[in-house]
């Protein structure tokens, strides 16, 4: 197991020198005090996260751990190249899927995985989104399994959330410990909202002949990520709209304002494909903006991400991302995938069934850490239940080895302790590909746990990229 802060001989690793110095100088007691102050501030500002199905508190806080997670400049250089490469390939793949399908014709990606995928939208075939961009914000979930080994766990091409934590965690660290940032050793993350807005403006639709009006579309204040929606809209200085604020007329999209209808050009939507347009997709749904998909298709408005972008972040498609990189870019993948068995393949399935106790099993379409099996930590009964489920419906599952995730220091009940972490950077794709030096580090706060999802007891940390 790779401890990011300490080498085997207990020496502090280079990137963590400043953090170690700070922990020693501040002392655990004061750090604990600051941590509870930080929590009070988060509560006051209203940075909350709702967990579906738990009922109790609709506005819950994600625990924040005070000790930053650090990447050295050289580590980031590699990560950054890898993330951008991946984002480019995923978008090329999406364009291909909805056009000639070369990669399927070449036999690199199996046809049925794409065309029979739930996230594949036949309505999108032949549609040309501005700049050929489908996924404008790519969230790549990365784990570190050794000193120089970074592996991608999954890609998020639809509407990855969590970027507000990247910004707020930094904000709170700067508020509590300004002296840490004085020397400028940590790269700033506050460029993100500006870059995001620029990215969205760059993909204005062809019918837009003026400065594009960009809005952020949220399902509403009951959505679990509502805070993030309002936060980003605020930082970009754009309207935060709900579906009922928008309507379609004369082949264009408008929002209802106090001055009457105002034209909308680009919609950063934080709402699922199926709820965008009740006329085009989910006909029994009352949500969404009727007719907006037609406007999109005819170049009257841009939807970010494009409908149907989810076909690229499916866990079954994930397996092929390194092949996509070679196929579309002619490059060698910089970031590795995690070895993955697709249960749809009979020999893979057999291996999985026989080795369940050593594997992590995930649903192909699942997210949020729900409905997964962590073999080494699971009770026998649970394993048996999964075995039956896989046999009944093999193509629904994939399996991966239990990864030896790296650990980072946290402030625990016994002082500084180590916990497993992952990392999600947010790559922006418009005319250019842009990446803010930072991301969201999630940490499994339960000792020994490998599940970092906030819905399952995970917390967050500030993430430092050290300046060159």
């Amino acid at each position: 197991m790779y401890n990011e802060m300490f080498a085997d001989d207990h020496a502090v690793r280079g990137p963590y020198e400043k953090v170690a110095e700070w922990i020693n100088a501040t002392g655990v007691d004061l750090l604990n005090l600051r941590q509870s102050e930080a929590e009070a501030i988060f509560r006051k500002i209203g940075i909350t996260f709702a967990v579906y199905g738990e009922g109790a508190d609709p506005e819950r806080l994600i625990p924040f751990d005070l000790i930053p997670r650090v990447f050295g400049a050289a580590e980031w250089r590699k990560l950054s190249r890898g993330i951008k490469q991946r984002s480019r390939a995923l978008n090329a793949f999406l364009y291909d899927v909805y056009h000639r399908g070369e990669i399927m014709r070449a036999g690199v990606v199996p046809e049925e995985l794409v065309y029979q995928n739930e996230a594949f939208l036949p309505e999108m075939v032949g549609v040309d989104p501005p700049g050929k961009v489908y996924s404008h914000i790519v969230g790549v979930d990365i784990v570190r399994t050794d000193g120089d080994r970074f592996q991608v766990l999954e890609d998020n091409c639809r509407t990855p959330s969590g970027v507000s934590y990247m910004l707020e965690n930094r904000e709170i660290m700067m508020r509590m410990f300004p002296q840490l940032f004085k020397a400028g050793i940590v790269e700033a993350v506050d460029s993100y909202p500006g870059l995001l807005k620029k990215t969205l403006q760059e993909v204005a639709p062809i019918k837009c002949d003026d400065d594009p009006t960009v809005v952020l579309l949220t399902p509403g204040s009951l959505n679990s990520a509502y805070y993030e929606h309002s936060f980003l809209a605020d930082l970009m200085g754009i309207e935060l709209v709900e579906p009922q604020d928008l309507f379609v007329e004369k082949g264009l999209c408008w929002m209802r304002t106090t001055l009457g209808p105002q034209r909308v050009d680009v919609i950063y939507r934080r709402i699922d494909d199926t709820y965008i347009d009740p006329l085009a997709f989910k006909t029994d749904s009352l949500l969404g903006v009727p007719g907006i998909f037609d406007v999109y298709r005819s170049g009257g408005v841009t939807l970010c991400s494009a409908p149907g972008a989810g076909v690229a972040d499916d866990k079954a498609i994930y397996v092929f991302v390194p092949d996509m990189i070679k196929f579309y870019l002619g490059e060698k993948p910089i970031l590795e995938n995690v070895q993955t068995w697709r249960c749809a393949e009979p020999d893979h399935c057999k291996y999985v069934i026989d080795n369940l106790k050593d594997l992590v099993v995930k649903r192909v379409h699942g997210s949020g850490g729900y409905g997964m099996l962590i073999g080494p930590h699971a009770a026998r009964k649970e394993i048996e239940a999964f075995r039956a489920k896989i046999k009944a419906n093999p193509s629904e599952f994939i399996a991966q080895p239990t990864l030896d995730l790296s650990t980072a220091p946290i402030l625990g009940s016994e002082g500084v302790e180590e916990r497993h972490v992952d990392f999600r950077p947010y790559c922006l794709v418009g005319k250019d590909i842009r990446l803010t030096p930072g991301g969201l580090t999630r940490v499994a706060l339960k000792k020994g746990s490998l599940v970092v999802n906030s819905s399952q007891g995970g917390g967050v940390k500030d993430t430092w990229i050290l300046a060159e």
Binding site: G46, G220, Y227, S230, D234, D245, M255, T257, T258, L259
Partner: protein, 311 residues
């Protein structure tokens, strides 16, 4: 600005003002009910009536009315959309739905302590009534203060303020509607200390006691009080002040939007009526008629504002 945002701001202004005014109203009832020789029942009944949200308690035919029932209904009841608790919760929900239209200061003022009234029962509330009412006034004052110092002076601010002013005019008018008989000249002959207390109670409910002294120097008289609450343009809870301010905000809005909306006609007509009418004339035509008419006009104004700005 999105119409939904304007609507939310307008109503947030109304809710916060209503919470504040309700706290002052309960404060008045509490004080009056404690006076020696007061008819406790009657006092609480008029509080319920003035709030406009507890008709079943205000009904004079209804049986005994306890302080605890009024406090439950006006302070705590989540089913009563006008209870202090509901107002604070709704204002926060409105604010949350339009987070981007609020400043951080305003949000913090809305968000801070909004759960405090959560599970409280009427007995506990009654025991701590003065401090709870103080707390409510502090919450609303903090919010108002945060808006004043941090919100951009554009349409969002105008809608927020107009909501508060419409609500305030309405609250003052409803108080007058319930207490008008106290202010009728004939109560003079009924005379005695009782009326003195009744008059001051009306001033108290509008936090106008000291201010009244400054303006009218001498005694409490029914027409003095009515004049103060209706026609005095310097007193910020008077009908005239509220309407003049609304009219000014509608002008600001018209300047910003480049077009005059229909609500201005309603507001201006009232402003002009109040300017040319003296208090004697008002009494001559009937205080009660004027008050009922003004309540209807205020409702219409609110409706015209929402119609003109598409919410």
């Amino acid at each position: 600005m999105l119409s939904r945002t304007a609507e939310n701001l307008f109503w947030m202004g109304r809710y916060m003002e209503r919470a504040d005014a309700t706290a002052r109203l309960i404060e008045m009832g509490y004080r009056m009910a404690m006076l020696p020789g007061s008819n406790e029942q009657e006092e609480w009944r008029s509080v319920a009536a003035a709030s406009g949200s507890a008709p079943e308690l205000a009904d004079p035919e209804a049986k005994t009315l306890s302080a605890s029932a009024v406090v439950q209904r006006l302070l705590l009841d989540p089913e009563n959309a006008s209870s202090i608790r509901s107002c604070l919760t709704s204002a926060r929900a409105n604010g949350r739905a339009i987070r981007t239209a609020l400043t951080q200061d305003m949000w913090e003022a809305l968000n801070d302590g909004w759960r405090s009234l959560g599970q409280m029962d009427a007995d506990t509330a009654l025991k701590n009534l003065p401090s709870l009412l103080e707390w409510t006034k502090h919450r609303t004052a903090a919010f108002r203060g945060a808006s004043e110092i941090s919100l951009l002076r554009n349409d969002g601010y105008y809608f927020l303020r107009m909501g508060g002013l419409v609500e305030r005019a309405d609250m003052t008018l409803r108080l007058l509607d319930v207490k008008y008989y106290v202010l009728l000249p004939e109560t003079d002959v009924v005379g005695g200390g009782r009326d003195y207390h009744q008059w001051t109670s009306v001033l108290r409910a509008t936090s106008a006691l000291r201010a009244y002294h400054h303006v009218y120097k001498g005694d409490y008289t029914p027409w003095g009080i009515a004049d103060f609450l209706i026609l005095n343009t310097a007193f910020p809870r008077s009908v005239a002040y509220c309407y003049r301010s609304i009219s000014r905000f509608l002008d600001d809005l018209a300047e910003l939007y480049g077009e005059q909306g229909s609500p201005q006609a309603v507001a201006r007509e009232m402003v002009e009526q109040l300017e040319r009418t003296g208090i004697e004339e008002l009494f001559q035509h009937g205080l009660h008629e004027f008050v009922s008419g003004a309540i209807t006009t205020t409702r219409r104004l609110s409706f015209e504002i929402s119609k003109a700005y598409h919410f």
